[in-house]
Amino acid sequence: MPFSIRDMQENELFLFMASPKEIRKKNSDLIRMITENGYSVIVITSNQPYEVLKKSYEKNGIPMDRIHVLDTVTKYALGREPEPVENCRFVSNPGNLTDIGIAVTEMFKEVEGERICLLFDSVNAMLVYISSQNITKFVHFVTNKLRLLGFSGIFLAMEKGLDPDVFIQLTTFVDEVVDSDEALPPAQ
């Protein structure tokens, strides 16, 4: 049965497995589906910069006013503070989990009361910069926050890109693991 956000209960957490080829498309498909279901989305990206995501979402007809982005790569790549954007926070380095943790906490506070789903893109992109042990701790930290606030969450990861021990650990933090074979509804 295809994965659908309609099936997603409040406060439900998913580990969503996709291939590197599919990852940007899955990101957009998931965002569209989530927003269509009345959720606002917090995207933590360590793969694509805000500008690229924005273009991709707009191209897919996704309203940006429902989207908040925590961009961990733009400032790092530019080596300077980017132009301020209303619905985006930039942190200095995708490996700086303290800054990312603080930013996530603040963003959660800002959207309190809204119907929120977090999209984490992606575990593997973050693995370039930090160890699996630290990323596991970070995912645990974020999932705990989500559960406390009653938010939902989807953590994107790449198939065959995780050591089985790390994968098993991550599965213990979520309610369900969704394989990309379980096709999402096509983009409109």
Binding site: P20, N47, S122, N124, S132, D163
Partner: protein
């Protein structure tokens, strides 16, 4: 064997009181024959040391013929050429005979005619007149050279064996099934910090931690007459409480009826070996974890970068990317590649640390 006696003579009973007195001539010839052909060196010398009787064994042992020595006393100088040694031997014999009339098992070294040294054990008696004047000495010499050599060799071997057993680091012990120890070497005593007397004859049982006891019990129960040998590794708790590892090679010794008599054990402390094995295992496990981690941080990130560059090219073809965005997207992929390179170096370092036998060139290639 035919003795030359007739059947009648042999079978004829001789009644008590019918014995005839032995012909003194026969008796004399018999005694002379016995003396001369005895395997024992038999000599009679007078009080001045002049040899009166020198039997065949004396000739055979010393190499000096009866004709060379009888009626003379020079033979003693030949046999004991060292004047000091000769004086000591003579003094001992004279003194003992004077005090006790006999000397038993007195050992001397004699030089034979061929120059060989032989060890003789002497039994000597003095003969004296009723007035107490010494008339001569009966000397019976037993050539114990070979026996002494065998004894010396045996003693030497025993000392060597004892030396080997006591100086080696391995612990050696023998004990009965009830734990009563029959033998322990120095290493065993030193290891347990106990005296030999405290262990021997006592039911000494080293303190084996509870978790190893069942395995030890099973091991000993598994030694049978068909399979009496085995090796076991287990821990023991030392008197100070420290836990040490030991390895024992056990041999169960069974009696002819198959009853277990005792165990012979050779053991050694393998704590350092066990610690080294554990460290190697731990190091190996750490290396595997590190290599898996490094692989995880290389494999998909490279695919991800390639995919992102592919997407960038597609967007460029579609004219969907301005210069600023192009620079940003390329910069991100360059940063990722830089980090992937760092991760690759970390992986190489882990490989270099773990793999023995890499040439300096290979090590440099992997780490620089």
């Amino acid at each position: 064997m035919d003795t030359g006696m007739s059947r009648e003579t042999r079978d004829e009973p001789v009644e008590k009181g019918q014995e005839h007195a032995i012909d003194p001539d026969v008796k004399s010839r018999f005694l002379e024959d016995v003396i001369m052909n005895a395997k024992l060196w038999m000599t009679f010398m007078d009080s001045k040391g002049v040899v009166q009787i020198w039997n065949g064994a004396a000739e055979e042992i010393t190499g000096y013929a009866s004709g060379d020595v009888v009626g003379r006393n020079e033979v003693w100088r030949w046999l004991y050429p060292d004047p000091l040694y000769r004086a000591k031997v003579t003094g001992t014999i004279v003194e003992r005979i004077r005090d006790r009339h006999s000397l038993e098992n007195y050992e001397t070294l004699v030089r034979t005619k061929s120059g060989e040294t032989r060890r003789i054990s002497w039994n000597t008696r003095g003969l004296s007149n009723p007035d107490g004047t010494m008339t001569g000495y009966i000397l019976l010499g037993n050539d114990i050279t070979e026996i002494a050599q065998v004894k010396a060799a045996l003693k030497e071997r025993e000392e060597l064996y004892r030396n080997v057993v006591d100086t080696q680091k391995e612990f050696i012990c023998r004990f009965r099934p009830d734990g009563t120890h029959l033998f322990v070497n120095d290493a065993y005593c030193r290891y347990f910090g106990m005296g030999r007397d405290e262990i021997l004859g006592h039911r000494f049982r080293p303190d084996i931690p509870e978790e190893d006891r069942e395995a030890v019990r099973e091991f000993f129960a598994g030694l049978t007459p068909e399979n009496p040998l085995g090796t076991i590794e287990h821990r023991i708790r030392m008197p100070g409480g420290a836990i040490r590892w030991q390895q024992w090679s056990e041999q169960a010794i069974f009696g002819p009826d198959g009853t277990l008599v005792e165990y012979q054990s050779v053991g050694r402390d393998i704590t350092n070996l066990k610690n080294a094995e554990a460290a190697a295992r731990e190091s190996n496990e750490r290396a595997i974890i590190f290599i898996k981690e490094a692989a995880m941080r290389l494999k998909t990130p490279v695919e991800l970068v390639m995919e992102n560059i592919g997407l960038l090219l597609e967007d460029l073809e579609e004219g969907d990317v301005d210069l600023q965005q192009l620079l940003l997207r390329l910069s991100i992929q360059v940063k990722s590649m830089e980090q992937i390179q760092v991760n690759l170096r970390d992986l190489n370092r882990a490989i270099v640390d773990q793999v023995d036998g890499l040439s300096p060139g290979s090590r440099r290639f992997l780490t620089e």
